[in-house]
Structures are given as structure tokens and as C-alpha cells.
Symmetry: C2
Subunit: 519 residues, 2 copies
């Protein structure tokens, strides 16, 4: 990993599907060609194409490969391995190597988050993850949230700077995974899960319309793009496939989450939630899917609390408070002296404060108290008390309230009630690191049987792996994108009403949280 302090959300083994049929974006074919003779003096390129067309329809050969093909075939005693990419209704030759290299075929599954980028090196022969690397998205220095980045993109040269920044991050991670250029040349396919803005910035597409009414992206389904047109340091003709998005605020990362959860194939209704820099909520089953999205604010990423920080060494990640003594027990990441509180620490803290009665159902401290000390100054790396303040709690409650309100709105719209919910899928860091019981206590997760709560892990990365490896998964992702009905929250007055009424712990409707008991 390039950035040791970056904790990538790993692929959840719970959802890592074993694909029965591998149909990767690119495939290799070993060719034992006929050396030209007076009896068979077909042109070299034509012979290769004819042989490939025995198994693949309509093969085209780009000029760059026509140029190297004849000498390569002669130097390899007419035994070569072709790499083909499926393009539309035909195939394109994208690489030719001497000898039989059919067992050396690599691809990348990439998750581009607004904050973190993860690259998985995949063996296209068996679909396995060989290695992965993660780093912060270098665009961060140009703005932490999506709207700031879009504004930056509209400045002169801004789009170009943002595009180069994320490509540099990717190329650095690729180099970590494959230090030798001849290895990176063997990477011949890429699939990417990312939100719509991240895809626009990666492709150098102007994101201006994304944040302006009526919120139309430049493209939802970019198709296959050769890697060199984006600037990725791998095989230049490697096709890059982006998971399709549905609109400006519902990207391929969410489509990927649905794909990985399998909720679109179940008879029962499931709820999918991913809360990062943005929040997305999807509800549905095999017949219907509804979704909404909005900026979540950085409540869970340590952005608004006084001592908030990302999940880096020294972050308080778990907290318990003894009701009798008020004594706080906590752990920090890597056991380093505490420097702040990350999302999971904050969720634990709020749950404990609530269960101990230190904050009430409105999430307010008793009169007179403005904060609660989690780590006393002498134990910190900062030299001052690490506290949670009423303002921190209020900010967090806004995020939580928005999630509750949005979920309620979707339910109401589809006429589904809380009891009808069979599964809860928590994606990304929101699913990976939050303490389940605390998240239920404060109403961030629904109070379902614990076996119905599934942490998806990096479902965007896992979805990228699946579509990299499987044509039917690519078709499934596109079918999901075509099926989702999107609810625009910004324009919805019901949402605002629900939002205002949803700032209670664990929920406005206590009946939904039977297992939450004040100590």
C-alpha cells in the first residue's frame, strides 16, 4: 500500500462471488500460425485475423499492432498469443506476444472514492485478487468534497489538473502493484466503480451540469475507452469499463453496490445504504428498485467534529462509558496516542452517551454541559482533552436525520413498511468499520435481526472485479441502471418535513428499535 495510513475498505468475503464463468473484458488466444510458403502466402495480418475469427467474430487490428505483427511472428517462430477486447459486436486485437502467454493475464478493479482510491490487481485467468494498493485521491488538495471539486474543475485549467491528479494517484498505485513496465503492459483490462463526478473528472469531462438543475451528467455509460486516452500506464489499448451511473448523484459505485448485494434478485425487500462524503440509499427487490442520494456531509469521516479525524493511526475508534463511574474506555488505531476521533469512535461515543443517559432522546446534554471528555489531555498526543461537544452531536444528528428521513420517504413512496424489510446492506467504510450495536442504538442502522445486517465491504471495488471478469455481470449492472427509479430529494418538500422531525435517538418511531434499551 502506497499510503500506509490509508485503510482501504477491503472486499468483503461474504459477498465476493465466485464467478462460475469467466468472460473478462479481454481474452487471450494462443495461435500456432502457418509459416508463409509459396503455397500459402497470405498476408501476415490477414492470417492472424482469419485464425482469430474462428473463435471471435469480426476482429479488427489497429495500425500500431499491424506495424509490429510481422516481425513479432517471425521472431516467435509463428507461435504467438493474441489479446482481444470485445468492442461492440466485434473484437479488437489489443496485444500480441511471442509464445504462449495465455496463463499471464491481468486486469485492474478500481474503486475511485472522493477520498480514497483502491486498486486491485486481478488475475484474469482465475478471477482472484492478487494484491491491492490504496491511497488518498490526490484531488483532495483541490477540495475535500464533490462540490468543491466541481467548482475547481470550472476554473481555467482546473479540469485538467483534477484529471491529472487522479490519474497520477492511479499510476502510482499501479506502479506499486507492478513495478516493472513489462508487467504493467500485461494489464489489459480495467473496470472502475466510482461516483458520477469522479468518473467525469477521471475522463476529463466537464462536470458543470452535474450540480446545476436539472442535474444532467455528460454521460452515464461511457462504454469502453482505451487506457492511453485516459493516461493510465498500462497496456495502451486496454479497454477501461466504468460501471454505469444513473444520474448526477447516483453513480456506478452504487450500481456496483446493488450488483454485489444481489438485492435486485431477491423476492424480499432490502435496504442498501452507503454513507461516505455522499450518502446513497437504495431500496427494492427483484421487481423494483428506488434510490435517493445527497451530500452526506463529512460527519462520519471526521470532518465536522472538533476532534474529528479520518481513520488513521491515533484515531479513537472504539469507546465505552461506564454508567456508574462515567469512566471512558477507548482504543485507538495502531494503539498510537489519541489524536482525534474517527467515525466509528463517534458512533460508539454517541451510543454510550445515550445508553447512559448523558444525552437524551433529542441528543442533548443535560442543561449546563457543553461537552464530554473522551480522552483526558495527558493521554493524548495533543496535550489537550479530546472531547465531543454539543455542536458535534448536532452535526452528526443532521446526517443521521437525513438518512432516516430519506429512508422513510422511499418507504412511503413504495408503500413498504419497516416490518417488510428483510435485509440491510451497509456499504463501504460505513459498513466496514462502524460498530453494529452502536450504529443500531443511535438509529444509523435499522434494528433488524443481526444476521440480516450485511457489511458489504468495498462493494464498488468488488463490483468492478465482477464486471471486469464477467460479461453477464456487465449486462446485469446495465440492467440495474435501467431499472432504478431515482427520487430527487432536493426538490421534495415531504423530505424536508421528515428531516426536521427525524432528529431523535434512536428514531422518531421508537417501535422500530425494540432492541435498544437505556441502561
Amino acid at each position: 500500500m502506497t499510503n500506509p495510513q490509508v485503510k482501504p475498505v477491503i472486499l468483503s468475503e461474504q459477498v465476493q462471488t465466485t464467478l462460475t464463468t469467466l468472460e473478462p473484458l479481454t481474452r487471450k488466444v494462443f495461435l500456432s500460425l502457418t509459416p508463409p510458403s509459396p503455397r500459402d502466402n497470405r498476408a501476415d495480418v490477414d492470417q492472424v485475423r482469419q485464425m482469430l475469427e474462428r473463435s471471435c467474430d469480426n476482429v479488427s487490428v489497429p495500425l500500431s499492432l499491424m506495424r509490429k505483427l510481422p516481425s513479432l511472428c517471425r521472431g516467435a517462430d509463428w507461435k504467438v498469443t493474441a489479446t482481444l477486447a470485445e468492442i461492440g459486436k466485434g473484437w479488437k486485437l489489443i496485444e500480441l506476444e511471442p509464445g504462449d502467454t495465455t496463463n499471464e493475464q491481468f486486469g485492474l478493479a478500481i474503486d475511485i472514492g472522493t477520498t480514497t482510491v483502491v486498486v486491485y490487481l486481478i488475475d484474469l485467468c482465475d478471477g482472484k485478487v492478487l494484491n491491492h494498493a490504496a491511497a488518498y485521491n490526490a484531488q483532495i488538495i483541490m477540495g475535500e468534497d464533490i462540490l468543491t471539486r466541481i467548482r475547481q474543475a470550472l476554473e481555467p485549467g482546473g479540469l485538467d489538473r483534477l484529471q491529472k491528479a487522479v490519474v497520477e494517484t492511479l499510476n502510482r498505485l499501479i506502479k506499486d502493484l507492478c513495478p516493472l513496465p513489462r508487467e504493467t503492459q500485461k494489464i489489459t483490462a480495467v473496470a472502475i466503480g466510482a461516483n458520477t463526478t469522479m468518473i467525469h473528472l477521471l475522463l476529463g469531462l466537464n462536470p458543470a451540469s452535474i450540480c446545476r438543475d436539472p442535474y444532467t451528467p455528460s454521460v452515464n455509460n461511457p462504454g469502453l475507452i482505451p487506457a492511453d486516452e485516459i493516461g493510465l500506464d498500462i497496456n495502451p489499448l486496454a479497454p477501461v469499463y466504468c460501471l454505469p451511473s444513473i444520474g448526477s448523484y447516483l453513480g456506478g459505485d452504487v450500481i456496483g453496490g446493488i450488483l454485489v448485494s444481489g438485492m435486485h434478485k431477491k423476492a424480499d425487500v432490502s435496504l442498501f445504504v452507503d454513507i461516505g462524503t455522499n450518502g446513497e440509499i437504495v431500496m427494492g427487490n427483484e421487481d423494483w428498485l428506488v434510490a435517493c442520494a445527497g451530500a452526506a456531509g463529512p460527519a462520519l469521516e471526521g470532518g465536522v467534529t472538533a476532534f474529528g479525524m479520518r481513520a488513521e493511526p491515533g484515531a479513537v475508534d472504539h469507546v465505552s462509558i461506564d454508567k456508574a463511574t462515567g469512566q471512558v474506555e477507548y482504543t485507538t488505531l495502531d494503539n498510537k496516542p489519541a489524536r482525534g476521533i474517527c467515525g466509528s469512535g463517534l458512533v460508539d461515543t454517541l451510543a454510550e452517551l445515550f445508553l447512559d443517559g448523558i444525552i437524551d432522546r433529542n441528543a442533548h446534554f443535560e442543561k449546563g454541559r457543553e461537552s464530554y471528555v473522551i480522552v483526558p489531555a495527558k493521554e493524548t498526543a495533543l496535550g489537550e482533552d479530546i472531547v465531543v461537544t454539543q455542536i458535534d452531536i448536532n452535526n452528526f444528528m443532521a446526517t443521521k436525520g437525513a438518512v432516516n428521513a430519506a429512508t422513510d420517504l422511499l418507504m412511503e413512496n413504495v408503500g413498504c413498511d419497516w416490518q417488510g424489510l428483510s435485509q440491510f446492506y451497509a456499504a463501504g467504510a460505513f459498513g466496514q468499520y462502524l460498530p453494529i450495536e452502536s450504529a443500531i442504538t443511535i438509529g444509523l442502522y435499522p434494528d433488524l435481526p443481526r444476521s440480516s445486517i450485511v457489511r458489504l465491504g468495498n462493494s464498488s471495488g468488488e463490483a468492478a472485479r465482477q464486471v471486469l471478469l464477467s460479461r453477464s455481470k456487465r449486462m446485469e449492472a446495465e440492467a440495474i441502471a435501467a431499472k432504478v427509479t431515482y427520487f430527487e430529494l432536493n426538490a421534495n418538500t415531504t423530505f424536508m418535513e421528515k428531516f426536521r422531525g427525524s432528529k431523535f435517538l434512536p428514531h422518531t418511531d421508537l417501535a422500530r428499535y425494540p432492541s435498544v434499551k437505556i441502561r
Copy 2:
């Protein structure tokens, strides 16, 4: 015309087919798009693609166009014109313009000869030739004939120099035809007729194997190549289609000749001959086609005679000799003082010398004579007599003998005799400028009824125009390429025997030339 002294072989009106259905390599579609609204906020690229897919299957949009599409649509009030290229079994968007520009659509039909390059500017809306320009192939300074160029290509950096030279020639001609860059951007399709080596050098493909046993080209059918990969200064994504070749010595120019002649659709047997720097002979009908080819030597291009020159101003192009007085009458190109003799002048000279009995059936002067004065020194621009020597005549007879021998060989092989021949197609300069009667007299043309002798003109350029404009003509050209049986002359001992026995005027078999009468 860039090079005023270059006489391009013009398209023969006799064979300039009016295509009933225009299906050019690229087509334009006017789109009146729906401005995005909250009720229809599809992504811009997706909307364009969906609209195009109403009439064209499987449309892909390259990244470069995705980048400019959103702002272009907005700036054009959502009324735009798309240019699509047919690629394999789908279509590729290659240009997008504001407004309705469907009546402005241009293509290039190009004939790349070893010596001369001709570019025709074609209106893709009606198929007409708007203008043309011709120049010497700038590769000439690196060698006049094909073998020298191939040797040059094998020198370090040689292939690159040759590639750049012909592209520079083309770009200069394109600039002559369309001086403004915004005009050249409107050129969105190119079709090329050329011999196999010229295609290799244009595409930057190593031609080494072309001249080495077993004479395999790198490619016979390169498919569609984007113009910018070759370096043409037109729309960068414009598809470039090369007429398919059959092998190293039978190129797309000859396939084009067959296509234009229509001999592949006739019940009767025809003979097609093109003699330039190389010579190609094709015989056949709707059922079969046989062909052979070889280096013709520059006999007809003024390269071997003492006073030989290309058809430039001052070249003696017509000659008659009074039998009684021996007085020579001649004309020169542009009526400039004589500087040498071009192909047509030489053919006339030999015919007159033969008819007047100055040379015998073996093409020998009477004993003691070594040359014949065509233009006395005082009338020339050189200050010395312009003469034809016995050595000149011998060189010419070698070329003529090769043509006769090759034709005889083809006939023998297919069991067709001279009487069975219904049409004679003379292509290129060989067909355009040679005096018919003299060419028959010396046995270069067959002695057929004059109405059966068809001068095709620049059949390579005309074929390029036809495949540029018509999908069925492209398929027809490819079907011709698949149908021709090629006879390898170099390896053929019968040919060498026939060649040795064929150096008679007008022909070894006098019965074939009933209309040739010595004066």
C-alpha cells in the same frame, strides 16, 4: 494542381459509374435533441447515442467527442449534426457540429502511384468530383522504383522517412484543395487505391517480406484506420479505407481496375492491362479471374531510353515518319522545344519505324545503323540530336515481350484463346496517353475491334471514389480480391520460355494482328 508539370490521369467518363445508392464510409445525421429538464435528465452523451441508435445499430462515442459534446449541444440550442463511420458491425461517432450541416460532407478518393499521387475531393452528398490535385510522390527522391524504395525502407529510419514523404505529398494536395483548416475538418472519409508497397509505406508497415520469397505482405486488407494515425490533415477520426490487395505484387490499384472495368460481371472474357513502373495483367469473366504481375521497368515512363523522359512539357509525345522521305513529324507537350521522348512518343516512333521497314520484325535496325534521329539538334532545347537507339529499342522490347509472354501464359493456363477475348481494358497512363493504333502495331495492345478497346483512365482513383461512396462497391472489391487466382511469374519456367520467344513485332503469332500492315 500543385505540380503543374504533372499530368494526372483523369477519371475516364466512360467508366465513371453513377452510383444509384450512396452509402459512403461516413454518413451525417441531423439531431434535434430534447433540452434536459427535471422530467428528462438523461446524460447528454446517452441522449445523443440513443437518438442515433434509432437509425444506426451499436453507436460508440469516443472520449474526445464525449468531452466536447455537452457544451456543443448547449451552444447549438440542442440542434446538432452527427457524423458516423461504419466500423465493423456498429457505428462510431466521429464528429459533431452545431446546426444542420448534412449538406456539407466531403471525402477524398486517392490514387497513390509509385510516381504520381492524385487526390480527388468528393462531395459525399451526390458523389461528384468537386476538384482534384496531383503531384509527384515525394518518395521519388528516395528511389524511382518500388524495389529501391523497399531497400530504403530497410535502412535505419528509412520507413519513417518514406511514410512521412507520401503523407506530406498528400497533405500538400489536401491543402491545395481545401486551404482552410475548418474545411479540411469537414473531410470525414478517405478511400485509397494503391499498390501493396505504396500502402505499406503509407501505413508505416515494414515492406521487407514483399520482395522476399514467399512474398507475403504484412497485410492485404487493413480495414478502417483513423486518419490521425496515418498523419493526414483532415478530420482526425475520419476512416481511411484502402482497396484490398491480393498479394505483394497485385495491389488495391489493380482490384480497383477490375472493379471499375466491370469485367468480373461479364459473361465474356476480358483482358485488363496496366503498365506503369510495374505491370499487371488480369484476365477473366464473371466466373473466374486470373492475374500476374511483375516489375515492368520504366520503359514507358522514359526511364531507360537515352532521351527518355516523363510526360512533362517538352516531351515528344507523337511521332510520324514519312516512308518515302524519312522525314519525321512530331509534337511536344505544351509545344515546348523538345527535351526528350515520353512513353507515347516512343510507342509512335517504334510503330512508325516498323511500318516503314526501318526496323524489322525482330525490332532491329538494318546493319550498320545504331540510332534514328527524331528531333534534330537545332530544334531541341538540348543542343543535340534526340535519337532512339538500338539499345532503347531492345529495352522496350523486353517490356513488351514480358507483357506478351505473361498474357500468353494466362491464356494457356485457363485454356482461353485469342479469339475468345471480347474486351481489352487499358488502365492508367498506359491506357490514357498511348496512341491506340501505334500500340496495336507494336503488339502492346491486342488487335481487337477498336470499339472493344476501353481506356479506363485512372481506374485506381475511380475505384477509390466508388468504394468511398458505396458499401456494395466495398463488398464487391473484397469479393474480387477473394476470387482472383494469382500466377507467380518469377517461379514459372514456361514464362521464361515464352518471354525469350516473344520479342517480335507486332507479336510472335502474326495471325493475332491481322490489321497491322507494313507500308
